[in-house]
């Protein structure tokens, strides 16, 4: 009997586990997130006592600091998800993969499932980094880190979900653009330049702001419910958190589906 979907998931987990990329990216992400969250906590906390105090109410500070887990960390699960797919094309390992299980849709489903879980793990690590350093610094500046609040933990749950979905979006991007170099360039260019610029530009008129809330980064901020962007744009009433989540699901599903019918089902030679 063929091992089917469960076998595919187990196999994909082993693929992730048995090369070094996952922990290399995790370490870089944790350091980067800790640096940003810690830096922000220090600046805001330090300013708190000064003359030009922040426009942000103190009660909002902790989540803003913690949200660096997703607002700067999200690029890592996307990258990892995309690389999990493109490396199969690059190293021609689709040949043994499809020999072991010729049902290509099941293989891709197993990969997406696996990467959702791996993305959640990235989320947990990113939150440990942002809350770990952020909360201690805030507390050191005399600001309540709000760790006992149910709202904080709901935020943590939504952040983990966001990171899981970003990883699935990475899988979708990878099947859509199987060239490894192209996928990396797209991830970095889009997350670091294109989308931030688009969101900034879109905020100048009403209708473009309406459209821009469906950009993946904006949807992610809506899902998480706090970020430096929303804080800067005055916390405009964007999408609800669940709407943001659905937008991310839609990006992942549509990209994966199109990729399945284009690159994934192509001849492997």
């Amino acid at each position: 009997m063929s091992a089917g979907y469960l076998g595919a998931v187990r196999s994909e987990f082993t693929k992730v586990r048995t090369t070094r990329l996952w922990w290399v990216l995790l370490v870089i992400m944790a350091a980067y997130v800790a640096l940003c969250a810690g830096g922000m906590a220090a600046i805001l906390g330090g300013l708190g006592g000064g003359a030009n105090g922040p426009a942000i109410p103190e009660a909002q500070l902790p989540l803003l600091v913690y949200s660096f887990a997703t607002s700067v960390g999200y690029v890592f699960p996307v990258l990892f998800g995309a690389l999990a797919v493109t490396s199969e094309f690059r190293f021609q390992s689709l040949t043994p993969t499809f020999l072991a299980n010729p049902r290509r849709g099941i293989v891709l489903g197993g990969k997406a499932t696996t990467l959702l879980v791996v993305g959640a793990v990235f989320g947990v690590v990113a939150l440990i980094a942002s809350i770990g350093l952020g909360a201690s610094l805030l507390a050191a500046f005399g600001i309540d880190p709000l760790l006992g609040e149910p709202d904080t933990w709901a935020f943590v749950g939504r952040s983990i979900l966001a990171m899981a979905l970003w990883s699935a979006i990475g899988v979708g991007l990878g099947v859509l653009v199987p060239s490894q170099v192209a996928a990396i360039v797209i991830v970095l260019a889009f997350t670091q330049f294109v989308e931030p610029l688009l969101r900034l530009a879109a905020s100048f008129t009403d209708w473009s702001a309406q459209v821009a809330q469906f950009l993946p980064g904006a949807a992610s901020d809506a899902l998480v419910g706090a970020s430096i962007y929303t804080a800067m744009s005055g916390g405009s009433a964007g999408l609800d958190w669940w709407q943001g989540g659905l937008v991310l699901v839609a990006y992942a599903a549509i990209a994966t589906l199109i990729g399945f019918f284009t690159s994934w089902r192509r001849d492997v030679s």
Binding site: M1, S2, A3, G4, G7, A8, R10, S11, T14, K15, T18, T19, R20, L21, S87, F91, Q92, S93, L94, T95, P96, T97, F98, L99, A100, N101, P102, R103, V107, D267, V268, S269
Partner: protein, 300 residues
Amino acid sequence: MPTGVPIEFSGLTKTFGQVSAVSDLTFTVEPGQVTGFLGPNGAGKTTSLRMLLGLVRPTSGTATFGGTAYAKLDSPLQTVGASLEAASFHPGRSARNHLAVYAQSAGLPKTAPDAALEKVGLSGYGDRRVGGYSLGMRQRLGLAFALLGDPGVLVLDEPINGLDPEGIKWIRLLLRAMAAEGRTVLISSHLLSEVQQTVDDVIIISHGTLVHRGELSSLDTSDTKQVQVNAEDRDRLAAVLVDAGYQVSNLRSGVLVENADAATIGRLAFEAGIPLTGLSQKRTGLEESFLTLVGEEGSL
């Protein structure tokens, strides 16, 4: 013991844009023997095998395992073991983990990767990253992947490429043993001489079309059959053979007898009381007829 099923090609055709890579291939590969799939570079061997394995979609025609397409097999790795020419593994993964990935995907027992490494002589190297493997070791790892599910059918693309003489001898014995157990063994090569001592049957393609199929000996179309024979007393041996009406010439390593077969020469020497130190039938015709079949300029 898994037994082989026949591999059936029927009207298999593949065109890449304007290029006709494979056209209308029809033949059957029987279990219980080693079949060589031969043709010069670019003849369409790899493309045919990839279609057989469900990796490339045929333009028309089918290729099946006893009537079932690869993608429709219940447990593919336990039915068919395949290794294809291209090195297809992540260089950062160890050999054991590489095999474990696919064993899990196919639902094979946990012990399968180590058993396969053992069979190909890589047991001591299972924990090394594959990126550091030599060409011969990669070839063996490819074979280990093919053997993972202990399949009744083996489909190997250029399995001998990159092996040292010892490796060639080893794989030859392995494939012959597997065929003797009743499995179906299909191996491709662009060199007849490379597989000549391994295969029973040959299928020869050129420019994507079948040009010959039959037993290996059917290729031997030359009318001049030569026997190479040797004895301590080489001069007496030559004299006896000349007396018997043969035309002989002296080689460094023995006497070359024209238009002879080994059995008759052996009997003549025995009757004359000459102990032989060597006796072999020369098949000079094989490579010749292979080249004639695929066209003198052969490749591409």
